[in-house]
């Protein structure tokens, strides 16, 4: 078991290093002088003199060989220095600190919705295979994966906001300030964020459970005279959990991808919106650091998922 965990940890570390390499060298692919890019508007408008540019170049360390630059940057990362935003003139870390909790708030709620409703739907479809429950659940899940979330957002805004005036159509309020209003603001964004993941989870749960219920040990369980609830909950579900938990790893990625769109539509000041504004402002520092942070979170979540297999599958636990 420990060997398994250590192996997984090492793999995660290797992947993290490769991710930093990808992000770093991708930015170096940008055409033009990196210094001009980093200085943004100021430099391209020509308001800085040549000597100033050169001294800034040394200051930023852009005159050193590329591997040294990488080393310095990576070293900075390890100390939590994510760079300074070109557009906001702020430390990226500070920018993130304000926005991350908001995105996570939405994301966690969306994930909970995803897992709870998705698993229930898939389970119902699998146990009552061939009945109308299966048909409806499968159909909804199939539709759910096809809905473009930006379109769904607009749709919901139109109906629940503009026409029916039931829900506020934009913004975010911290639950500590105004719980009730904040929650109402969250309903549509969280739903949009969850729908794709939920549908995927439902489909996955259904096929995982169908696979499990075909197994011999389920027939043995029936032959012992156990009731359906016991057979499904105690014998089948625990075996089916492994693919379901894997979904969590995928889910966190979907949360961030979704946040980019949802936060733009609903004007929520989270990480996704930050990335979009930075993209248009050509603020490469934020994009670089933002992408990095997001992929770190995905890698770590996947690592946790893989470690959780130890608990779920005794065959891994004892080797």
């Amino acid at each position: 078991m420990t060997a398994y965990i250590i192996r997984r940890l090492l793999m995660a570390l290797v992947i993290i290093v490769i991710v930093t390499l990808i992000v770093f060298f991708a930015m170096r692919l940008l055409p033009g002088d990196p210094l001009i890019i980093f200085l943004g508007q100021q430099a391209s408008s020509g308001s800085i003199s040549q000597e100033q540019l050169e001294s800034l170049r040394v200051e930023y360390g852009l005159d050193k060989p590329i591997m040294v630059q990488y080393g310095n940057w990576a070293w900075g990362l390890l100390h939590g220095n994510l760079g300074t935003s070109i557009y906001y003139h702020e430390n990226v870390g500070v920018l993130m600190k304000d926005r991350f909790p908001i995105t996570l708030h939405l994301g966690v709620l969306a994930l909970i919705l995803n897992i709870v409703v998705g698993v229930l739907m898939g389970l119902a479809a699998a146990i009552r295979r061939g009945t109308w429950i299966d048909a409806v659940s499968t159909f909804l899940a199939n539709i759910g994966v096809c809905i473009p979330i930006f379109w769904l957002g607009l749709l919901l805004i139109y109906f629940f906001g503009l026409q029916l005036h039931w829900l506020p159509i934009y913004g975010y309020t911290s639950p500590f300030e105004d719980f009730w209003y904040g929650s109402r603001q969250l309903i549509m964004p969280v739903f949009c964020m969850a729908i794709t993941g939920l549908s995927t989870t439902a489909r996955l749960t259904r096929s995982a459970m169908l696979e499990v219920t075909r197994q011999d040990y389920i027939r043995t369980a029936w032959s012992k005279g156990l009731r359906e609830r016991t057979v499904i909950m105690k014998h089948a579900l625990k075996n089916g959990l492994i693919p379901i938990v894997t979904v969590l790893g995928m889910g966190i990625g979907m949360v961030f991808a979704g946040s980019v769109i949802i936060e733009t539509i609903f004007a929520i000041p989270g990480v996704g919106r930050l990335l979009v504004t930075s993209l248009f402002a050509q603020d490469y520092v934020v994009i670089q650091s933002g992408t990095l942070v997001i992929s770190m979170i995905v890698i770590l979540t996947n690592l946790l998922v893989e470690i959780s297999y130890v608990w779920l599958d005794p065959r891994i636990r004892y080797g």
């Binding site: 011999d216 043995t220 012992k224 005279g225 009731r227 779920l312 004892y318």
Partner: protein
């Protein structure tokens, strides 16, 4: 001897793309108290399906299409398949062990959990008593250091050990009948012998009847008192072990016996296989299913539908038109 189970005209079929397969086509048999009965036939003849049907463990695309299974005076086929009355019988009155020990136990639950759940459910024991009893049972079936192994997972046990666990599980609630569906087919010969001995001891100890489903005549020769021979979904011969082995009457049975190598025969005798292949069960003709492979066929066999079971001698029945008395 009182009768425990009587099956009348059981029919189980499977709907497939190519047609309806009648895996069990009008099977009737009985099991008495305290006896060991063998159900013999080749792969695909319907023997496993017939047993699964008696416990209503058949699921789509299969369905039980007719017949009755009389147990303790009731036709248990009338009970709802997973309803409370059927569940009260499964495990508690009729128990089953299966062919594949490697996959028949749940890999994510401990042996102890899988043993005790039956005891708690059917015998209404509390957890402590169930655990004690489970350890006892494991000891009885020959699992060493039971007290420490009860919390192990199935993958810690070998195939033979797992089968022993299955036997313990099946007998834990003192069923009247234990059905063993090819229990030793997946195991090596030595383990086979050990397990069969164990099963015989155990059913004697628990005063239960045993049904051994197998394709291996050698297995039933030693242990069974009565034997049913199945072919293409029907019983083609039935009788005591002595009658089946001594004076077989159905051409199929005779063919089977000729295939078994024996230690006490003269050197140089060739093994005589049964030519041809098992029939395709989809859209079977009305005539005898064994006809294409039969050495004793007569004109009547081509014209008449499959014969009914007719008595040869007392309780020795066979389905054959021909007179197959061997001339010694």
């Amino acid at each position: 001897m009182t009768e425990l189970l009587r099956v009348n005209n059981l029919v189980t079929q499977f709907k497939t793309e190519s047609g309806v397969v009648r895996a069990v086509d009008g099977v009737s048999y009985y099991i008495d108290e305290l006896e060991i009965v063998g159900l013999v036939g080749e792969s695909g003849c319907g023997k496993s399906v017939s047993q699964l049907s008696t416990m209503q463990l058949i699921s789509a695309p299969g369905e039980i299409a007719g017949g009755e299974v009389m147990f303790e005076g009731q036709n248990i086929l009338q009970y709802e398949a997973n309803g409370p009355r059927m569940r009260a019988i499964r495990g508690a009155k009729i128990a089953m062990i299966f062919q594949e020990p490697m996959t028949s136990l749940n890999p994510v639950l401990t042996i102890g959990q899988q043993l005790t759940e039956m005891l708690v459910l059917h015998m209404k024991m509390n957890d402590d008593a169930a655990r004690k009893r489970a350890i006892e049972l494991m000891g009885m079936v020959g699992i060493p250091a039971a007290a420490s192994r009860i919390d192990d997972y199935p993958h810690h046990f070998s195939g033979g050990m797992r089968q022993r666990v299955m036997i313990a599980m099946a007998l834990s609630c003192n069923p009247r009948i234990l059905i063993a569906d090819e229990p030793t087919t997946a195991l090596d010969v030595t383990t086979q012998a050990q397990l069969l001995e164990l099963m015989k001891e155990m059913v004697q100890h628990f005063r239960a009847s045993l049904v051994i489903v197998t394709h291996n005549l050698g297995v039933v020769a030693r242990y069974a008192q009565r034997i049913y021979i199945m072919y293409a979904g029907r019983i083609v011969e039935s009788g005591t072990t002595k009658e089946i082995f001594g004076t077989p009457r159905h051409p199929y049975t005779m063919g089977l016996l000729k295939c078994i190598p024996r230690l006490d025969e003269e050197e140089g005798r060739k093994l005589v296989p049964i030519e041809g292949l098992p029939p395709n069960l989809i859209n079977m003709p009305a005539t005898c299913a064994f006809l294409p492979r039969c050495h004793y066929r007569i004109d009547k066999c081509y014209k008449e539908p499959w014969p009914e079971l007719a008595t040869v001698n007392g309780n020795h029945f066979t389905r054959c038109y021909a007179d197959t008395k061997e001339k010694k």
